[in-house]
C-alpha cells in the first residue's frame, strides 16, 4: 500500500474549503444532495464533517491503514452515516458514492501539486485511490450490516403481528395482541378477527392487549374502530390486559373508552364472557 506524502497532506489541509466546494458541487451535479429523503443542510454538514475528520485522519494516522486507532473517528462517522442512509431507504451504491465522489476533487488537487513530477504524481494518485477505496468499502460493509439489522427487525415485527384468533369457548373468541399496534398490519389482524366472528358466529370477542407496550391515540383509534365494527356485527367486545399504568395513561391522554368493557387480565375477561353466555364454572366435588 502506498501512503500519502506530507506534501499531499499539507496541500489538502490548505485547500480544504476548495475541496469541500468542488466535492459538494459534484454531489449536487449527480443529484445526490437533492434527494427528498435527506435535507440539504444536513447533507452539507455531513460533507463538511467528513472532510474535517478525513484530514485529521491523514494528518495523525497512516493513510494506508484505516483500521488503525487514528482512524476511529472517521470509521465512527461512516458507521453512523451508513446506518442513517440504510434506515432512510437508500441503496448501497448511493451511500458509497458519498465517498467515491470525493475522488475527482482530490485527483485534481494532486495533479496541480505534482504537475512537474510524474513519478510522485503517479504514486500519490495511487495512494488517494487506495485510501478512498478502503473508506468506500468500509462504508458498504457498514451499510450492509445496518440493512441486515433493519431486515431482522422487520421480520420480528411481522412475527409479532401475525396474531392468531383463538377460540376460548363456544361463541367466545380471543385476539391476543403482541407488539406494536400502530402499523398497517394492525388493520389486517383486526380484519381477520372480524372475519372469524362471521365464520364462527361468535357472540363475544376479547381483545387482549397485555403484550402491547404503548397505548397512544392511534392504537386507541384502532381499538375503538374494531369495537364499533364488532358491535355492528351483533357481537360484544371486551378489551383485556389493561394494566394499571396503561389505565392511568389513558385517563391523562383524555381517551374516552366509556361504553367499552375493559378488564385487567384475560382470565377476568373470560369469566365475564362465560357469565354472559349463561355459564357458571363450579369446582368439581
Amino acid at each position: 500500500m502506498t501512503a500519502l506524502s506530507q506534501q499531499t497532506i499539507d496541500a489538502t489541509r490548505k485547500n480544504e474549503s476548495q475541496l469541500l466546494a468542488s466535492w459538494q458541487a459534484n454531489l449536487d451535479a449527480s443529484g445526490a444532495s437533492r434527494d427528498s429523503r435527506i435535507n440539504h443542510a444536513e447533507f452539507e454538514t455531513q460533507t463538511r464533517d467528513f472532510l474535517r475528520l478525513l484530514l485529521a485522519g491523514t494528518n495523525n494516522g497512516d493513510s494506508a491503514n484505516i483500521a488503525a486507532s487514528e482512524w476511529s473517528d472517521v470509521r465512527a462517522f461512516l458507521d453512523g452515516l451508513s446506518r442513517s442512509r440504510a434506515l432512510q431507504g437508500f441503496d448501497s451504491h448511493t451511500t458509497a458514492n458519498f465517498i467515491f465522489s470525493l475522488k475527482r476533487p482530490l485527483f485534481e488537487l494532486v495533479h496541480t501539486q505534482y504537475a512537474s513530477n510524474p513519478t510522485e504524481l503517479g504514486s500519490q494518485l495511487w495512494a488517494v485511490t487506495e485510501l478512498l477505496d478502503a473508506l468506500g468499502m468500509y462504508t458498504v460493509r457498514a451499510f450492509q450490516k445496518s440493512r441486515e439489522e433493519v431486515i431482522a427487525r422487520q421480520q420480528e415485527e411481522l412475527l409479532e403481528l401475525s396474531t392468531p384468533v383463538v377460540k376460548l369457548w363456544d361463541g367466545v373468541l380471543a385476539l391476543p395482541m403482541i407488539g406494536t399496534l400502530d402499523s398497517q398490519r394492525t388493520q389486517v389482524v383486526m380484519e381477520s378477527l372480524l372475519q372469524r366472528i362471521v365464520e364462527t358466529g361468535a357472540e363475544i370477542a376479547i381483545i387482549d392487549i397485555t403484550g402491547v407496550p404503548t397505548v397512544d391515540t392511534l392504537v386507541a383509534q384502532h381499538l375503538l374502530k374494531t369495537v364499533t365494527a364488532i358491535r355492528l356485527m351483533g357481537a360484544d367486545a371486551i378489551i383485556s390486559g389493561v394494566r394499571p399504568q396503561i389505565a392511568q395513561t389513558i385517563v391523562h391522554l383524555g381517551l374516552d373508552l366509556q361504553g367499552i368493557v375493559t378488564k385487567a387480565n384475560l382470565a377476568d375477561a373470560l369469566a365475564l364472557a362465560l357469565k354472559r353466555a349463561g355459564l357458571t364454572v363450579t369446582k368439581a366435588t
Binding site: N39, L87, E157, T217, L218, T249
Partner: protein, 134 residues
Amino acid sequence: MNVLRSGTQAVRIEQDVVLARQTARKLAVEAGLRLVDQTKLVTAASELARNTVVYGRGGDMDWEILEEERRKGLRLTFRDQGPGIADMKLAMTDGWTSGGGLGLGLTGAKRLVDDFSVESAPGQGTRVMICKWT
C-alpha cells in the same frame, strides 16, 4: 441543572416512531422513572414523534438525561421544519384535528408530563419539548 447524557435520533418515517418510543423507554428506565411515569413519557413521545412524521414532514428527537439537586429527569425535544402550526390555540384544544386523528396528541402529551412547551410559526417548523422528573 446538569445534562448527564444527550443525543439525537431521526424521526422521519413511521418505523422511526417505534424506534423513538424504544429509545424513550430505555432512557426513562436509565433516568430512574417509575413504571407509570415511564409509560406516560413513552406515550407522550409516541404522540409527538407521530406528529413530527405526519404533520412536520419528519424531523429529529433530541434527548437529555438531566440531574437537578436530588432528582433526575428525561427531556425530549421534537423538532421539524415542516409547515408549522398556524393556530396554536386550536391545535391545543382537546379533540381538534386537521387530519383524521382524535385530536388528543398534543393536549394529551401535555397532561402526561411535568414540563411541556411548544413553539411553532407558519413556515418555520415546530418544536415541542417535554420533560418528566423522578
